[in-house]
Symmetry: C2
Subunit: 121 residues, 2 copies
């Protein structure tokens, strides 16, 4: 990123999906871990959220301006709602820079979710 | 499995989650792929389904009798409902043998979901 006007604001997620639990295939989940994991999967269990997430995750710059990803066929308030859900789940991080909010993927969280599914390292 | 009374019934899933889509991190998802993937994640977005799934996936025999996994704190009809959802999503396969139904995990589907999350191979 070469935006000289970039402002580093502190990021304070409302909630957060942490890699939390043993792989699903290695041991029975406790009720508490099952609730954490269900929240992670729920955040990705919506087509619009998945499309927004993949637009951010696949963006060449490694991050995306909300102005570049909002064309998913729903209204701007709906886009904002889904981006908030992804942020609250800790799947996306965000930062306001001037007019726009920028989003990027939390790689540790994604790797953690893949590990939960028992994928080989 | 050494059950001499094992009967090989044909398994006909009602629906099926196939590994379908490029990794979330490699390209923007199409609407059609996003809908398929959301269905996969939705099947795992429930604590009871996750606990049932992990009981099957972590069972020492590689499969589990429904009689061994039903103690997840909900009624038997609710267990049946959730097992049906997991079967319909293609995450579990099942087979009736005599009195009991046995469940096992579809490994290709789990590997496919992990790949969707862009985990390293």
């Amino acid at each position: 990123m070469s935006n000289s006007w970039m402002v580093e604001l502190p990021v304070t997620p409302v909630g957060r999906v942490e890699p939390c639990c043993p792989p699903l295939t290695s041991a029975e989940l406790s009720q508490a871990d099952a609730e954490k994991m269900a929240a992670m999967f729920k955040a990705l269990a919506d087509p619009v959220r998945l499309r927004l997430f993949s637009k951010v995750a696949s963006h060449p710059d490694g991050e995306a301006c909300v102005c570049d990803i909002a064309d998913v066929g729903v209204s701007q308030p709906t886009v904002s709602h889904h981006l908030k859900k992804l942020r609250e789940a800790g799947l996306l991080a965000s930062e306001r820079r001037g007019t726009w909010v920028y989003y990027w993927v939390e790689p540790a969280v994604i790797a953690g979710m893949a590990a939960l599914l028992g994928s080989p390292d």
